[in-house]
């Protein structure tokens, strides 16, 4: 399938931007996990190098692999992802009170990451095969809601409130993008607001407490509130030009919890300052905008919806992560694309970029 024509249409812009971000991510991860006493990189860093190499390979495979195959198999993939989520709940590894991983020896995967992509395919297939030009009403949207709710609820049980909420936000974004009638949109928003107190009553006390802290970390000055304060100190103290590579005190002294995963952006902003952080955000914004342009120009609806969904996926991850570590929204444990450590997430991100490139290539073939 890789012929000259394909290569000529290959989206080098997207590809190189991705490589640059991956490189920035690795450099930053090196710093975030740098071991001061031994003066060397941690095993986390070396593992992420393998994941990055595997990720680039994955990107290339998906870039040259006709995305229409996913259209045919999207429901199968969806069922598979649900099965994996069930497997997590039954036999998953418990880390910090939550079951989120399946282990194969020393190697663990996080099925909720793959579930995000599989849900995208299933929803996009549904919308592209059931087009309604005037917009979807309440009855036509019931099936997509059901498709999205199943994995969201399973992930909620792990429990992983953040990922579950993110899944719903992604699905909802696609509903709106595919075209919701105004009354259906309003109905969903109102139903969501009204059901909250009902759901609240079903929660146990410690779960309620967790959610209260989650919504207002300042109430928990020793736990999440402390993390947030340290994150703000890290970012703020970077000032205009940052403290320089390996010079970030907050990150280096491990004040930051999850410094290599959820709070990785704080490490970056501390060492590279406002300028570095803005350049990083602009690069991400360019990828996301490019994604939405690809969506608009795709030659078929499935391609459009997939490209838009992937762009939403990148947008919400980036926006929620940065907003969270800067204290704009509650701390919800959403990783940052290209920057956070984590194999499952990196592979999912690279798969989605690969598919974006794929859709972008197909555009010119008539």
């Amino acid at each position: 399938m890789i012929n000259q024509k394909g290569l000529r249409n290959f989206d080098f812009f997207l590809f190189f931007l991705t490589l640059i971000l991956l490189l920035a991510g690795l450099i930053n991860l090196y710093s975030a996990t740098f071991n001061q006493s031994s003066g060397g990189a941690s095993s986390i860093f070396y593992r992420q190098i393998y994941w990055t190499a595997l990720g680039i390979l994955t990107l290339l495979i998906f870039a040259f692999f006709d995305y229409h195959s996913f259209e045919n198999y999207s429901y199968h993939l969806y069922v598979l992802s649900i099965a994996l989520l069930l497997l997590v709940l039954i036999g998953g590894k418990t880390v910090g009170g939550a079951k989120r991983w399946i282990g194969f020896g020393s190697f663990t995967i996080q099925p909720s990451e793959f579930a995000k992509l599989c849900l995208i395919f299933a929803l996009c297939r549904y919308f592209s095969h059931n087009p309604i030009p005037d917009g979807y009403g309440l009855f036509q949207i019931i099936i997509p809601i059901a498709i999205s709710s199943i994995p969201a609820i399973l992930i909620l049980f792990e429990p992983d409130l953040g990922t579950s909420a993110l899944l719903m936000i992604m699905a909802f974004s696609l509903f709106v993008y595919a075209g919701l009638r105004l009354y259906a949109l309003l109905f969903m928003v109102i139903a969501g607001v009204l059901s909250t107190p009902v759901l609240w009553e079903f929660l146990k006390d410690y779960q309620k407490k967790r959610i209260i802290y989650f919504l207002n970390p300042e109430l928990d000055p020793l736990g999440s509130g402390y993390h947030l304060l340290q994150s703000k100190i890290a970012i703020g103290s970077g000032k205009l030009i940052g403290k320089g590579f390996l010079e970030g005190k907050q990150g280096q002294l491990h004040f930051l919890p999850e410094g290599h995963t959820d709070f990785i952006f704080s490490v970056f902003a501390e060492e590279w300052g406002f300028i570095g952080a803005v350049v990083l955000l602009i690069a991400l914004a360019m990828i996301i905008i490019k994604g939405f342009l690809i969506a608009g120009n795709a030659r078929d609806r499935f391609g459009t919806y997939v490209a838009a969904s992937i762009s939403f996926y990148l947008l919400w991850h980036t926006a929620i992560n940065v907003a969270m570590v800067t204290g704009l929204i509650p701390v919800v444990g959403i990783p940052m694309p290209f920057m956070s450590y984590g194999g499952s997430f990196l592979l999912t991100t690279m798969t989605s970029i690969g598919i974006l490139i794929n859709i972008s290539m197909k555009r010119n073939i008539f």
């Binding site: 592209s128 928990d220 970012i235 406002f274 955000l281 762009s311 926006a319």
Partner: protein, 617 residues
């Protein structure tokens, strides 16, 4: 051209179909990223200097502000579990450059080994070097002033004020209130304690355990900026703790103390209930423990002493001790006989001092025999031979049915942990558990409360309460109210009737009358519980620790367990009491006087209250 790509039906006919959506989404991206960049501008440019300052000094310290634990009170509001102020010696691991030097200075003063101090510091440095860690809790004022005056030699060490649980009545209420101590690593990982933190104190026993979430409140915290010597410069954020709720129990402290004094030097259980609503007024188990000892972190030696004590001080005998009911069970046999019609109150049976059955003679406790007795006298004088015959007439399964109905052999549901069931044998029970058929000879033992039968004191208490109140089995209550620190009533535990007995009121009347006779009539076995101005009803019991046969062979010197169950006044009962004295000998001599002391204290107190009232008005 991709082969087969034409099969896809969703080609867009209008290439600009999504143009508007593209514009909207791109605008959305731009807006979101502008907001994020704006936020970064605020943090890094506008407040950059402030945050740089905080990060350079690295002097953010967070303290937990412990929420005051709710108080536990007796039925009149007297505090039986309180909090007292205390000081903890803590340290910031990252700030201790030289653990050995610090250990050397502190060791002689705080009475800990140098190596122990050093290893605690080293471990904390490794595990969480920026988490304030406790070195010693509840230090003395001398220790406090030493640390304060040697502050410059002890960088990284400081003192925080806390509160410590205090049980002012020491051993008197230990099984009831229980105790709290530090959460273990294992507990932290369990589902029950999710949301708890290292260093938290949790209820481990009794009311403290069951109502832990009600009592504990929510900790607050402070984030402060400190200088190089650990002195506070400015607070950053403070969240007030939310105190736990208070519990009002049903226990009467006065009666509990009377029971404690009466049980001095004895092992056993005393438990009393208001038969009108199931409220527990006394719950005492001996030997007891001092709950205060568990709080400071009990020493290994003391802990082993408690755990390996053959008398098991940690066992709450009221709900966990299982004993044969002895002659107190004759009330059940009598009720079964009357209800099934195999005897009437006037049925007269002859007791020559033994009852021949099979190829052996079953003895009456009175070797000379009681002669011809009716039911009333049989209960008053506790004639074994009479009840052997009633038991044979009803059969073991009927006895078992009535025993269970009256609350024996099943947990009462008082809500404390590890309540025991005991055993009420029946033919099907024996087949299931021992795989053997029932022998009728065994029925004789069951009829007088021996054999396989075993029950807990609290089960007997619900039985005697039900007889006293005319047939209602109440759920025992120990906590009556949850009250917020501000004094608002949050929850009230109302009396709950578990079941109404399917027994003729006249049958219970006959039993109550006989129980009156036990205490007040000539030859009654419970004479030692008699009170001058209140009519008391009761029944003695002597639970054989080993069988008659092995005693005859000189198998052991252990005395029998002594029971006394009672209620008063006979007309309109207000208090039901069960007393068990382990190896106390006879119920009449060992247990009944204890019940008498509590009854006497109860009615004297009531009289005093009435006098005060009439004086007042």
């Amino acid at each position: 051209m991709i082969p087969g790509s034409e099969i896809y039906s969703d080609y867009k006919e209008d290439p600009d179909e999504f143009l508007t959506r593209t514009r909207i989404t791109v605008s959305l991206v731009l807006i979101i990223f502008l907001i994020l960049i704006g936020r970064l501008f605020y943090l890094q440019i506008l407040k950059g200097e402030y945050y740089r300052h905080l990060s350079e000094n690295n002097r953010i310290r967070v303290y937990r502000i412990q929420a005051p634990r709710g108080l536990i009170k007796d039925r009149e509001g007297r505090i039986i579990a309180s909090n007292r102020p205390s000081f903890d010696l803590v340290f910031m691991p990252s700030e201790i450059r030289n653990p050995r030097a610090a250990a050397k200075i502190l060791s002689p003063v705080i009475n800990m080994k140098e190596e122990e101090i050093e290893s605690i510091i080293e471990e904390a440095k490794e595990e969480a070097s920026f988490r304030i860690t406790r070195l010693k809790r509840d230090i003395t004022m001398n220790e406090v002033s030493f640390v304060e005056s040697n502050r410059l030699d002890l960088p990284g060490f400081f003192i925080v004020s806390q509160t410590v649980r205090n049980y002012p009545y020491l051993t008197v209420l230990s099984h009831l209130t229980g105790y709290i101590s530090e959460i273990t690593k294992k507990e932290l990982q369990s589902e029950e304690y999710s949301g708890y933190k290292m260093g938290d104190f949790i209820g481990k026993y009794g009311i403290e355990r069951i109502w832990d979430k009600t009592l504990r409140g929510i900790d607050g915290g402070r984030q402060v900026e400190v200088d190089a010597f650990g002195r506070e410069i400015s607070p950053i954020k403070e969240v007030e703790p939310i105190p736990g709720h208070d519990l009002k129990t049903t226990v009467d402290l006065d009666l509990q103390i009377v029971a404690e004094e009466a049980m001095q030097g004895k092992n056993g259980a005393v438990i009393a209930m208001d038969p009108r609503n199931g409220e527990i007024l006394v719950m005492l188990s001996h030997p007891a423990f001092d709950p205060n000892e568990f709080i400071a972190g009990i020493s290994r030696e003391k802990w082993l002493n408690i755990i390996e004590n053959p008398d098991k001080p940690l066992m709450n005998r009221c709900i966990q001790g299982i004993y044969p009911p002895g002659s107190t069970f004759k009330l059940v046999t009598a009720i079964a006989g009357l209800e099934e019609g195999v005897i009437t109150p006037d049925t007269i049976l002859y007791c020559p001092g033994y009852y021949p059955f099979g190829n052996r003679n079953f003895k009456c406790w009175k070797e000379k025999g009681h002669g011809s007795v009716n039911l009333h006298r049989a209960i008053v004088e506790s004639c074994d031979v009479y009840f052997y015959q009633v038991g044979l007439r009803t059969g073991v399964d009927t006895l078992s049915h009535y025993a269970r109905m009256l609350g024996l052999g099943v947990q009462t549901g008082i809500g404390l942990l590890n309540e025991k069931d005991g055993i009420i044998p029946s033919s099907s029970w024996k087949r299931l558990v021992l795989g053997e058929d029932w022998f009728e000879g065994e029925t004789l033992s069951v009829a007088i409360g021996q054999g396989y039968t075993s029950i807990t004191p609290i089960q007997l208490l619900t039985l005697v309460s039900a007889i006293a109140n005319g047939g209602k089995v109440y759920m025992p209550i120990i906590v009556s109210e949850i009250v917020s620190r501000e004094g608002f009533l949050l929850q009230k535990y109302l009396p709950t009737i578990v079941r109404e007995l399917d027994i003729n009121p006249s049958t219970l009347e006959i039993i109550r009358d006989a129980m009156y006779g036990v205490v007040n009539q000539p030859h009654g076995t419970g004479w030692s519980a008699r009170l001058p101005d209140v009519e008391v009803g009761g029944k003695t019991g002597t639970a054989q620790v080993i069988s008659y046969d092995s005693r005859r062979n000189g198998g052991t010197k252990l005395d029998d367990h002594a029971w006394f169950i009672s209620f008063a006044p006979v007309k309109g009962p207000e208090l039901a009491i069960v007393v068990l004295v382990e190896h106390g000998g006879h119920g009449a001599t060992a247990a009944a006087p204890i019940a008498r002391k509590i009854l006497s204290a109860y009615f004297e107190k009531k009289k005093r209250a009435q006098n005060d009232k009439s004086k007042g008005s």
